[in-house]
């Protein structure tokens, strides 16, 4: 009798314990009674950024002991499969930071928690006024609500070699004509120096540089009402931009012969090795030069955003305000928003910017004039010459989830690649890309 009741007591204790643990897990509360949050990061996963992020998260834990945050890195190359699989398996993280159009794409899948309350708070406390561009947060506005909030900026400058231009008596170009002439004049096969290098492979990055030239030509993908104009009203400008960019490789032959296979790092490497006059890159080139070829630092500058056929009003450059967002079905949405509000504040992310100079940029005007920027010439040049002119590919429209798919399926990277390898003319490439986009918008 006694033995039986012991058995029952032990069994019921185990069952109660397991049931308790289960119920704790399903309500987002861990065994220590803390609210548990999972935070997926996509662009903060290099060793330096990871270390810097750990210190920021440790500060958050100290300030908010009732919330336990677990950061999980997601490879940039796997971001779409990872998130799509998580949507299907309903195992999304509570919070994530990811690519530019993810919040809208996932909002279209009914997976996102609205962030209107955070935007309203930012409006009332002046944070919105402190953000560089209203586009940074309005781009997440769709069907009457905000689905993400911006937390950093990713830029696409054109770097140049001051010494190579000076040797030819050429001033840094300000417009397309001067740029093309400078690239041609400084291209020197005998010394192995290329006039320009950019990634033209069938990878996402290729479309980012095409985007800059599209805007500068007065073109684009959408009009201000969000209608597709890539191959219609903006066709001529987009063809002109594509021709200008690809002529560097096909007509003037001032680029490495293999750029049709180049991804981001291939182009970066050639420029960081000092083998090109102009290099199209991300902000990460700055930290690569500082680390791998510091002797090149003083010889490198960042061009002003070029003026193209679209005139001064269209002096724009591609870039991405990157978001943070909360999963609709997170059991700890309030805690997730507490974290986001704490995380995205002026000055808070300084460790990240110090860890990888140029790779990420703050969104707040008050952060930009930091000693870190003032003390680094290239950062200051990017700040003054590129950041204020940065916008991304839905401009002048906001809030189209289709842009995530257009970016994801590389719909306007393909034209760059196809023209460089010679399988299509610029006009055919633009029209074929338009047909793909039109199908997406039509459904």
């Amino acid at each position: 009798m006694e033995f039986k009741s012991l058995e029952l007591t032990r069994r019921s204790t185990v069952i109660a314990g397991l049931g308790g643990l289960f119920s704790l897990g399903s309500s987002g509360v861990n065994a220590q009674g803390q609210t548990a949050l999972t935070f997926w990061t996509v662009r903060l996963n290099t060793p330096e950024l990871s270390e810097a992020l750990k210190s920021i998260l440790a500060d958050f834990q100290k300030a908010n002991p009732s919330i336990k945050i677990t950061q999980e890195p997601v490879s940039g190359g796997l971001v779409y499969p990872k998130f799509i699989a998580a949507v299907r398996g309903q195992s999304m993280p509570d919070i994530a930071e990811a690519f530019s159009y993810h919040p809208l794409q996932f909002a279209a899948m009914d997976q996102m928690e609205p962030m209107d309350d955070i935007i309203a708070l930012w409006k009332s406390n002046g944070t919105l006024d402190n953000i560089f561009s209203e586009f940074a947060y309005k781009k997440f506005f769709w069907k009457g609500q905000y689905w993400g909030v911006p937390y950093n900026l990713d830029i696409r400058p054109i770097y140049y070699r001051k010494d190579l231009l000076e040797a030819k008596g050429i001033k840094p170009p300000k417009n397309w004509t001067e740029f093309q002439a400078a690239a041609i004049a400084t291209h020197n096969p005998s010394t192995g120096n290329f006039g320009a290098v950019f990634p033209a492979g069938d990878f996402h990055i290729s479309q980012h540089f095409y985007m800059s030239f599209m805007f500068q030509a007065g073109g684009g993908i959408l009009d201000k009402d969000g209608n597709l104009i890539f191959g219609t009203k903006a066709k001529d400008a987009n063809v002109r931009a594509l021709t200008f960019l690809t002529d560097l490789a096909t007509k003037h032959k001032v680029t490495p012969p293999g750029i049709a296979a180049y991804n981001t790092d291939d182009a970066h490497t050639i420029f960081v090795q000092g083998r090109a006059t102009f290099g199209f890159g991300t902000g990460a080139v700055i930290s690569r030069i500082m680390k791998e070829n510091p002797s090149l630092f003083d010889k490198v500058g960042i061009l002003d955003v070029l003026e193209g056929p679209g005139g001064p009003a269209n002096r724009l450059n591609a870039g991405f305000y990157n978001p943070m967002f909360v999963w609709k079905h997170s059991p700890a949405k309030e805690a997730a928003k507490i974290f986001i509000k704490w995380f995205i504040q002026s000055g808070r992310l300084e460790p990240l910017y110090r860890a990888a100079p140029g790779q990420h940029w703050p969104i707040f005007k008050s952060d930009i004039a930091s000693p870190r920027v003032k003390g680094n010439r290239l950062l200051e040049e990017a700040l003054n010459k590129v950041v204020p002119f940065t916008t991304d590919f839905a401009y002048p429209a906001y809030g189209r989830p289709e842009m995530g798919i257009i970016d994801g399926e590389k719909m306007f990277a393909a034209p760059v690649n196809e023209v460089v390898v010679g399988t299509k003319t610029p006009e055919k490439a633009v029209m074929d890309a338009h047909a793909k986009m039109a199908r997406l918008f039509a459904t």
Binding site: Y80, P81, I84, V87, R88, Q105, A108, M109, D110, G201, D202, F203, P256, P257, G258, I259, A260, A261, Y262, N263, D266, T269, I270, R275, P401, E402, G404, I405, G408, E409, K410, A414, N417, E418, V420, V421, T423, K424, T443
Partner: protein, 293 residues
């Protein structure tokens, strides 16, 4: 009675594995079939909406990309398997000879198999590089080229280049299987043929090849299935470019599923891939059976 009892016991022992394997193969297969007849366009409302054969019709009738990707997949598969088989057989014949260091060569030829796919892609990307690649450096040093060969950037060369990588990755497993088959060919047959005046070519054609035919059929069929479905090498090396020159069904399916959020259409492509593979396998085995008979 004892036999029946033993048989029952045997079935009981293998039952757990059978259940797990069935669940791990059948359940995803069924799920894929179901997804392929639903909308599953994750960018649109009501993803579980029944669409019947709409995705299949799109692939087979409307989408040019599907047929061109299928054609490239067949080229990729045949090129990789034939190339790997020829290389594997050649090396197996060499290592089958009783020479010094045989064990060392056997281990050496297996090395590509143990290199992970991602490392393989990175390694070959560097080898093939226009500016930094050692292949172009060697060819230029030998005076064979004036300017770099665009192995991955020229649409005409990209497919042969990625096939070469797949051959490098695939041949070790074929090599080890063929070597085992060669070592089972009775030496007495070769000795008798030599005495009868047969030369090495005749001994290879009339003794060695018939003996290893069964093994060859199996290993080439397996290699075909692996290559047909292979995704990593092409995706990492070229992304399906340049200008779609290396876009195969696996990369098309990935693009549609994960970049385009069109899970339903991607699942339909997957099912069609399975059908093609089944047809190839059946035709292959049927042809082998006819020949054997």
């Amino acid at each position: 009675m004892l036999v029946k009892k033993r048989a029952r016991f045997a079935y009981l022992m293998i039952l757990p594995s059978m259940v797990v394997i069935t669940l791990l193969t059948l359940v995803p297969l069924l799920d894929g079939l179901i997804v392929s007849i639903q909308s599953q366009d994750l960018a649109r409302p009501d993803p579980t909406r029944f669409v019947g054969l709409a995705h299949y019709s799109r692939a087979l009738i409307e989408d040019e990309d599907f047929w061109s990707s299928l054609g490239r997949t067949l080229v990729w598969t045949v090129g990789s398997v034939v190339g790997a088989y020829c290389l594997a057989l050649f090396l197996a014949l060499l290592v089958n000879i009783d020479i010094q260091g045989r064990k060392f060569f056997r281990a050496l030829f297996l090395l590509p198999w143990v290199v992970p796919e991602v490392s393989t892609a990175l390694l070959w990307k560097w080898l093939y590089g226009d500016e930094f690649g050692i292949l172009n450096f060697i060819l230029k040093s030998l005076g064979m080229i004036d300017s770099p060969v665009l192995w991955l950037a020229d649409p005409a060369l990209a497919m042969p280049s990625v096939i070469a990588v797949q051959i490098w990755k695939l041949y070790p497993v074929m090599f080890i299987v063929l070597l085992a088959a060669l070592q089972n060919v009775p030496k007495e047959l070769h000795e008798a043929a030599t005495i009868d005046g047969a030369n090495s070519r005749q001994r290879f054609l009339y003794i060695t090849l018939p003996f290893i035919r069964g093994t060859s059929v199996i290993i080439t069929l397996l290699a075909s299935i692996w290559s047909f479905q292979n995704f990593d090498i092409i995706y990492l090396l070229t992304g399906g470019g340049p200008a779609g020159a290396t876009k195969v069904l696996a990369t098309l399916m990935y693009q549609k599923a994960f970049w385009g959020s069109e899970m339903g259409y991607a699942a339909a492509i997957g099912v069609l891939m399975l059908v093609v593979l089944l047809l190839i396998s059946i035709a292959y085995l049927f042809a082998y059976k006819v020949q054997k008979d």
